[in-house]
C-alpha cells in the first residue's frame, strides 16, 4: 500500500514537473486567455487572444501574433533582442550551458574539456579555425575561442534551436551568422547545402518551445564537417528514420525528438560524451516517469526484459549488470544509408597535381549511391563505413582526454580520449564505441599534439588554402600561444565516441551467439568469462578423458573380438 501510494505521488509530481520546463518558461502569462474572457468586453491587452471558435494550439503563445516579431530584422542578433524583450532570463540560461561555453569542467578528473579546449581526431582544434568551426555555435560571432564568448545577451542564437519555419540556417563560415541577402556566391550552410537567404521575420514568428530533431540535427548530425562524419550514430538518417534504424525516433516507432531523452532544465540538456550516464539506478521510479538523466535505464529500468519466456527474460536481465543496453540493442551504427568516417589520415594531405591543383578522389560509394571523398589534398586520406560493428570497452562513462600540451608517446597509438571504468565495477558496463582511427600532426621535439590552422582563406597559412604543413602548424601553434619546435611528424591516434543512438527494434538486437561463440564480439575484452567463447581448460581435459574412455572401450572390445577369433568363434555361455 505504502509503495503504491508513493508511486502515485511520484507520478503526479512527475507529471506536474514534466510540464514546467516545456511550457511555463516560454509563455508570457499575460498572453494566456483569461477564464471567462468571452463574457466581458475584450480588454485591450487580450486583443490577440484566441477565442473558443479558434483551433486549440499546442502552445500558450502564438508568436506570429507578436508585433515585436514582425521584423524586418537585419541580423540574427536583432531577432534575439526581440525574443529577450519578453524572455528576459532565456539568454542567461543559454550562456550557462555547454552549448554556449564550449567548455566542460569534469570534476571527477579535474580536466577542463569542451570544444574550445580539447583536441579531436577530425579537424583537430577550433583555435585559429573559428569562423568555420563556430558556424555551429549557439551564438553569433565567436571569432576567437582563446577568449570566452562575451557576456552579450544579443549574441545568443535563439532561432537555431527554436525555429519552426525550417528555413533558418547558419552559413558554414560566418561564426554562427545565418546567410542573409545577398548570399555570397558558392556559400554553403552548416549541412553542406548551397546557402539560401534566410527570412529572419518568418523564422522569428515560427518559434516553438521544444527543439525539433531538425533543430538539433542540423548541427549534431553534421559534426566533423559532413553527414555522420563524427559520431557514427547521429546522421541525417535520423531526421525521418525507419523503425529498424531508430525504434525511438521513427515515426513508425515512438516518434521521439532528441529532447524526449535529452531532457533539459534551464536550457541545459542532459547527456554527455564526457561523463556519459552509463547507468541510472532508480529502484523506486516507475518506467516512463520523469527522469533527469539520458540513460536507457531512466525509462526502461535495469530489468527491462519480460516474457514471452520468463526464463530467457530472467537470463537477459542477468546481463544488465555487465552490459549496457546499447551493447546488444545497437548491433551496428551508421545504419540507414549514411556512412561514417572511420579513418582519417592527415599525413597525406597537401599533395597537389602536376598543375599545382588540389586533388580529390571519391573512392567510396554509399548505399544510397552517393560518392564520398577518399582523398582530398585539404584533408588527406579517409575511410568510410556503413553498418559498423562497434568497438566494445568497459566504461563508467568517464572520459579522460589527451589535452593539448600533454606529453604523448609517439611510439604508441595516442588515445585522444581514454575510456574510464573497470571490469566488474558496479558503475561500469561493457559499452559500444565508435573507434575513430586517426593520423595527426605532433611536435616531434616536444611530443605534444600540434594545433593546425586549416581554415582561413587569405591568411597565408591555412592548410585548406595553401597546402603547406609547415605554415599550417606554425600558425596554429602560434595562435594557441604554445611553443613549437618547428619539427613535426604524424602519430596514430584513436578517439572513442560512445554509441547510444540508432537503437534497433528488439528483433534486431544481438543474438546470444553474437558473443557466446568462438571469436565473438567480446573476444578481445578482458575481465569477463563468456560461456561458449572458447573450449575452456575443463573442456579440453574433459574431452581428453572422454576420448580415452572411448578408446579404452574400443580397445577392450577389439581385444575381445581378436581373442574370440582365436578361440574358433567360440561364444561363451
Amino acid at each position: 500500500m505504502t509503495q503504491s501510494a508513493l508511486r502515485i505521488t511520484a507520478f503526479v509530481s512527475a507529471v506536474i514537473l514534466g510540464q514546467l520546463p516545456a511550457y511555463a518558461q516560454d509563455a508570457p502569462p499575460e498572453e494566456t486567455p483569461a477564464i471567462g474572457a468571452q463574457s466581458t468586453p475584450v480588454a485591450q491587452g487580450a486583443s490577440k487572444a484566441a477565442h473558443m471558435s479558434d483551433p486549440v494550439k499546442e502552445l500558450t503563445a502564438d508568436h506570429s501574433k507578436f508585433d515585436q516579431l514582425k521584423g524586418p530584422f537585419a541580423s540574427g542578433s536583432e531577432v534575439t533582442e526581440a525574443c529577450l524583450s519578453c524572455h528576459t532570463e532565456a539568454s542567461n540560461q543559454v550562456m550557462h550551458s555547454v552549448h554556449w561555453t564550449w567548455e566542460y569542467q569534469n570534476e571527477a578528473t579535474g580536466q577542463t574539456l569542451g570544444k574550445a579546449h580539447e583536441m579531436n581526431a577530425f579537424c583537430g582544434n577550433v583555435a585559429s579555425n573559428e569562423v568555420r568551426c563556430t558556424s555551429c555555435h549557439t551564438g553569433y560571432g565567436w571569432t576567437d575561442v582563446r577568449e570566452p564568448m562575451p557576456d552579450d545577451p544579443t549574441k545568443v542564437d535563439c532561432l537555431v534551436c527554436h525555429d519552426k519555419s525550417g528555413q533558418y540556417t547558419k552559413q558554414d563560415n560566418l561564426a554562427g551568422e545565418p546567410p542573409l541577402e545577398p548570399v555570397a556566391a558558392g556559400a554553403k550552410t552548416i549541412t553542406g547545402a548551397a546557402a539560401w537567404p534566410v527570412d529572419l521575420a518568418e523564422a522569428a514568428q515560427s518559434v516553438g518551445a521544444p527543439p525539433g530533431r531538425d533543430n538539433c540535427g542540423n548541427c549534431h548530425f553534421y559534426g566533423g564537417g559532413g553527414d555522420n562524419v563524427k559520431h557514427g550514430d547521429l546522421s541525417s538518417a535520423l531526421f525521418n528514420p525507419s523503425r529498424d534504424v531508430d525504434v525511438h525516433m521513427s515515426p513508425d516507432g515512438q516518434n521521439f525528438t532528441c529532447e524526449t531523452c535529452h531532457v533539459s532544465d534551464k536550457h541545459v540538456f542532459e547527456g554527455s560524451r564526457y561523463e556519459t550516464d552509463v547507468i541510472d539506478p532508480h529502484p523506486d521510479r516507475m518506467a516512463g516517469s520523469a527522469h533527469d538523466a539520458a540513460a536507457c535505464q531512466s525509462c526502461h529500468t535495469d530489468s527491462p526484459h519480460e516474457g514471452p519466456n520468463p526464463l530467457i527474460a530472467a537470463k537477459l536481465n542477468d546481463h544488465t549488470d555487465t552490459l549496457a543496453c546499447q551493447t546488444c540493442h545497437i548491433p551496428s551504427f551508421a545504419r540507414g544509408g549514411v556512412a561514417t568516417k572511420t579513418v582519417w589520415d592527415w599525413s597525406t594531405a597537401g599533395k597537389l597535381d602536376e598543375n599545382g591543383k588540389p586533388i580529390t578522389e571519391e573512392g567510396f560509394t554509399q548505399s544510397d549511391g552517393k560518392h564520398l571523398h577518399t582523398y582530398m589534398s585539404k584533408k588527406g586520406d579517409f575511410e568510410w563505413s556503413e553498418n559498423v560493428t562497434p568497438y566494445y570497452a568497459w566504461s563508467n562513462g568517464e572520459m579522460t582526454f589527451t589535452l593539448p600540451e600533454e606529453e604523448i608517446d609517439p611510439t604508441q597509438v595516442v588515445e585522444i580520449n581514454k575510456i574510464g571504468g573497470n571490469p566488474g565495477q558496479p558503475d561500469s558496463r561493457i559499452f559500444p564505441f565508435k573507434r575513430m582511427v586517426g593520423t595527426q600532426a605532433y611536435d616531434v621535439q616536444r611530443n605534444v599534439l600540434a594545433y593546425n590552422n586549416v581554415y582561413g582563406p587569405g591568411n597565408g597559412t591555412a592548410l585548406w588554402s595553401y597546402y603547406d604543413w609547415e605554415k599550417t602548424l606554425k600558425a596554429g601553434m602560434d595562435y594557441a600561444g604554445v611553443e613549437y619546435s618547428g619539427e613535426f611528424d604524424f602519430v596514430h591516434t584513436y578517439m572513442y565516441w560512445p554509441i547510444t543512438h540508432m537503437v534497433a527494434p528488439a528483433d534486431d538486437a544481438l543474438q546470444c551467439e553474437s558473443c557466446h561463440t568462438q571469436g565473438g564480439r567480446m573476444a578481445d575484452l578482458a575481465g569477463i568469462y563468456v560461456p561458449g567463447s572458447e573450449i575452456n581448460l575443463g573442456g579440453k581435459l574433459g574431452l581428453a578423458m572422454f576420448l580415452m574412455a572411448l578408446l579404452g572401450a574400443l580397445g577392450h572390445g577389439a581385444l575381445r573380438l581378436i581373442n574370440r577369433g582365436k578361440k574358433n568363434g567360440g561364444h561363451h555361455g
Binding site: 537470463k315 549488470d321 557466446h516 575443463g538 578361440k567
Partner: protein, 216 residues
C-alpha cells in the same frame, strides 16, 4: 539356490533410469552446444533446454534419493571389496579367454563389486559435482556482484564441463560393458521389462512366486 527370472526393477526404478538417460543425453547435447562443440540449435534455445532439463533431473534425483532411502534400495550401491579382485581380473583378462563372469547376481546385490563402486562414485562424486557447479553457474546473477565474480564463474564453468565429461566417460564405459557377457540386448532388457535372472534361495523363490514376481 537357483537362478530365476524375477522382477527386480520396479516401475519407478525403470522410469528413473530411462528418464535419467533421456535427460542426460539432452544435457550432453545442449551442453556441447553451449561449449561450442556443435552449432545445432540457437544458443538461447540450448540454454533454455539445458536449464529446464537440468532442473527436472534434479527434481527426479530428489525423488529417487527419497525412494532409495525409504525402500532400502540404496544398499545396492554400498561399495564392498568382496569379489572385487575376481571381477577386476575378469574384465582385465578372463573376458578375453571367454571365461564366465565370476559374479552371480542376487536379489539384494544385483551389481558386481566393481559396478557398485562405479555407481557409488557416480552418485557420490560426479552427480553432486555436476549439480552443485550447475546450480552455482545458473545462479550467477545472484552472486556476480561479489569480488572476483567473473573469475569464480570461470572456475565453476571449467569444473562443470569437466564433471560433465567425466559423466560422459562413465556413460561410454557403462554402455560398452553391456556388450560383455550375454550381449547388449540381454543386458538392456531387464531395465525395460523389469525382470532379471538372479540367484534365489528356495524361501525367497516361494515368496516371490506368491507375489507373482517370478517369470519362470
Amino acid at each position: 539356490m537357483a537362478e530365476h527370472c524375477v522382477k527386480v526393477y520396479s516401475r519407478f526404478n525403470r522410469l528413473w533410469h530411462w528418464s535419467q538417460v533421456g535427460s542426460i543425453m539432452l544435457l550432453f547435447f545442449t551442453g556441447a552446444r553451449l561449449l561450442g562443440l556443435h552449432p545445432i540449435l540457437p544458443f538461447g534455445a540450448a540454454v533454455l533446454i539445458h536449464t529446464v532439463v537440468a532442473l527436472a533431473l534434479l527434481l527426479l534425483w530428489a525423488f529417487a534419493t527419497f525412494w532409495l532411502f525409504t525402500t532400502g534400495g540404496y544398499k545396492q550401491f554400498i561399495p564392498r571389496m568382496q569379489g572385487m579382485w575376481e571381477v577386476s581380473r575378469f574384465y582385465a583378462y578372463g573376458v578375453f579367454k571367454g571365461e564366465e563372469h565370476p559374479y552371480v547376481k542376487s536379489y539384494e546385490r544385483r551389481h558386481n563389486p566393481l559396478q557398485a563402486a562405479a555407481y557409488f562414485a557416480l552418485k557420490m562424486m560426479l552427480f553432486p559435482a555436476i549439480w552443485i557447479s550447475g546450480l552455482a553457474y545458473l545462479s550467477y546473477g545472484f552472486w556476480d556482484h561479489l569480488d572476483g565474480g567473473s573469475f569464480w564463474l570461470e572456475i565453476i564453468a571449467n569444473f562443470h564441463v569437466l564433471a560433465a565429461f567425466a559423466i560422459a566417460s562413465f556413460v561410454v564405459v557403462h554402455v560398452y560393458l553391456l556388450t560383455i557377457g550375454h550381449g547388449f540386448r540381454q543386458h538392456v532388457r531387464p531395465m525395460v521389462s523389469g525382470y532379471e535372472k538372479v540367484d534365489l534361495t528356495p524361501e525367497a523363490e516361494a515368496y516371490f512366486r506368491q507375489q507373482g514376481r517370478v517369470l519362470d
